[in-house]
């Protein structure tokens, strides 16, 4: 079955699927694939087409305040496949500590442990085409090079794996829209509609049920969808926007009776050139600097804090990686010569590298999305993001770097220089991961979260949310693998809901 173009749907049409999935990104596509062999009649609504279109992308524009962030219409993509059309393929499962409620980290903790996601990681790994699920077990096998020796302590050699569209000469990460288009077309109980923009969730009279969805096209089409159940899967920003903008009955928006929707926005901060890593013995193994292949996996090493160290020192997650080779200044050369000689090590062939990192942010209710008066071409209110990052977030990462430096000295393998100290310095070299999380956070208490442990919106019997917007705490691992595992779990739950 070919995809339907919503611009061809007559105005006033009422569609009545069992389940409507709003959004054709990795979460929406995963859900549709997972429900393929069930009797559930699924309608997947994608706002964009098969390729980028500037008029559609413009619907994402918004305002920003606070710490400089990526413009809201540049940090995501509104066409089939969503953000998988520009992801880098970096993958790593969240760690058990990321799910734990930690007294020293306000608002932390998921309503379940990582064990709940374990059964879904293998399938999620298949969907992102990242080879066998190896990650940290890579350290136990043959690698094309030596691991950086570290003394005992809080940092260890850990690994990313990478999504890789097998057979593609460019080894691009899996772009879900193009990669799974044919598979989706072959699902008999699925209708997939392009150019279908959901502009509102309309509540039933008892406000405990979403009665229907308003859908609009940029060509002026208007129709409605009256499903039994709904899954919002349009990304960590747009999920919140749709809930907030559906405010015709409840002024705060759907699911926002406790003022939680849009709060706790998060991304991974990616400060560059955060430290200089010197390896006394010469060139570091290639898999620290770039992706390499081993045991069927496309992988790269990171110098990660152990869970034990994070607990003891009360630290957020961070995943430092080698960026590029750098030259040392006069002080640097003196530091290396003096320290290596004192340690009794020859550093005449030492190599120096800059370190960047993916950095977890502490949950912050004031880092949030709110509606503004400006409206887009479909009449939807636009968003404003208030972006924050605390000095504590930087200090946490700095503590990890100091420990790494100590372990290098202990192993007599190298040393480390901290290259960022002040807030201004940190912010001057800041990138972001485009990993939108947290805005419909998961919590069993409706006053502290938007969805429950099954990703069902509190107080609404037929509305669910998929994707990283439900992450209540974020970890440092890239979200795609994890949100797909979480979506597969949701698919299992929905099978039970539909009986």
């Amino acid at each position: 079955m070919s995809f339907i173009d919503a611009r061809q749907v007559p105005n006033g049409t009422q569609l009545t699927p069992d389940l409507v999935v709003v959004g054709g990104g990795p979460a929406g596509i995963t859900l549709a694939l997972a429900l393929a062999h069930t009797p559930i009649k699924v309608l997947l609504l994608e706002a964009g087409g098969m390729e980028f279109d500037s008029a559609t992308q413009q619907l994402y524009a918004g305002d920003e305040t606070g710490v400089r962030y990526i413009p809201l219409d540049a940090t995501r993509l509104r066409y089939f496949g969503g953000c998988s059309n520009h992801w880098g393929g970096w993958s790593r499962p969240l760690e058990p500590i990321d799910f734990e409620q930690r007294d020293w980290l306000p608002y932390s903790g998921w309503p379940f442990s990582r064990a709940e996601l374990e059964p879904y990681f293998t399938r999620a790994q298949q969907l992102i085409e990242a080879g066998p699920f190896l990650y940290d077990t890579l350290a136990k096998g043959d690698l094309p090079g030596s691991l950086l020796p570290l003394g005992p302590g809080g940092v260890y050699n850990s690994f990313f794996q990478f999504s890789q569209w097998r057979g593609n000469a460019n080894h691009l990460p899996t772009a879900f829209g193009h990669r799974y288009a044919d598979a989706l077309k072959g699902i008999p109980n699925l209708q997939l509609m392009l150019h279908a923009n959901v502009t509102g969730l309309r509540l039933a009279h008892d406000v405990r049920w979403v009665d229907h969805l308003d859908v609009a096209t940029l060509s002026g089409g208007r129709f409605t969808v009256h499903p039994r159940h709904i899954v919002l899967a349009c990304g960590g920003i747009e999920n919140a926007r749709l809930l907030l903008a559906s405010n015709d009955v409840i002024s705060a928006g759907v699911g926002n009776q406790n003022d939680q929707v849009g709060r706790f926005f998060a991304d991974h901060a990616i400060p560059r050139n955060t430290a200089t890593l010197v390896v006394f013995g010469g060139e570091i193994a290639g898999f620290y600097k770039a992706n390499q292949d081993a045991r069927g996996a496309h992988f790269r090493a990171t110098l990660a804090p152990t869970e034990r160290f994070r607990r003891e020192q009360k630290l957020l997650g961070a995943l430092p990686t080698v960026e590029q080779r750098v030259e040392l200044d006069e002080i640097g050369r003196a530091a290396v010569a003096t320290t290596s000689a004192a340690l009794g090590v020859d550093a005449s062939n030492a190599h120096a590298y800059s370190l960047g990192t993916g950095l977890e942010l502490a949950p912050d209710p004031e880092r949030r999305l709110t509606l503004i008066d400006t409206r887009d071409a479909l009449g939807m209110p636009r968003l404003k993001l208030n972006m924050t990052i605390s000095d504590g977030d930087f200090a946490s990462y700095r503590a990890i770097l100091v420990e790494l430096g100590r372990q290098l000295l202990a192993a007599k393998s190298g040393m480390l220089r901290l290259d960022r100290s002040t807030r201004t310095e940190w912010l001057s070299a800041m990138d972001w991961g485009n990993h939108h999380m947290g805005t419909t956070r998961m919590h069993e208490d409706p006053k502290r979260g938007v969805v429950d442990a099954n990703a069902q919106v509190h107080g609404l019997a037929n509305l669910f949310v998929a994707g990283s917007s439900v992450f209540p705490t974020y970890g440092a691992s890239n979200p795609t693998l994890n949100l797909i595992a979480l979506t597969l779990r949701l698919a299992d739950h929905l099978k039970g809901v539909f009986g």
Binding site: T339, L408, L409, M415
Partner: protein, 120 residues
């Protein structure tokens, strides 16, 4: 007991070589250690290069204004003692004895030696 001419020649050669070696070593040491004597030479002699150490030490002293050479030297002697410097540092680093100088994470004793080098 008779001593052969060959033995005498060999012994003499060895003596000449030893004396020459000593002269070369002392000459090299005099060239290297072109510093006036200090009360901390037993410590500073453990450094590979006083000039390199001095560069780091100056930065370190900029953030440790209350550094006093005599106190630091006493602590360093206690910490390092008669051990090889590398062995003492290994123990120190394992116990968390690190500090920061110009952003570099270095063993506290290395920082102390560098600060001494910059103080004299």
């Amino acid at each position: 007991m008779s001593v052969s001419r060959r033995t005498i020649m060999a012994a003499g050669g060895t003596l000449v070589a030893a004396v020459a070696g000593g002269i070369v070593y002392e000459g090299w040491r005099l060239l290297r250690d072109r510093y006036p004597p200090t009360p901390y030479d037993d410590l500073l002699d453990r450094l590979n290069s006083r000039e390199d150490a001095r560069r780091i030490g100056l930065v370190f002293l900029g953030r440790h204004r209350n550094f006093t050479p005599a106190t630091a030297a006493r602590a360093l002697r206690q910490r390092i003692g008669a051990h090889e410097l590398s062995a003492a540092l290994a123990n120190e680093v394992a116990l968390g004895g690190i500090t920061e100088a110009a952003g570099w994470i270095i063993p506290e004793s290395v920082a102390g030696l560098c600060a001494l080098a910059a103080s004299v």
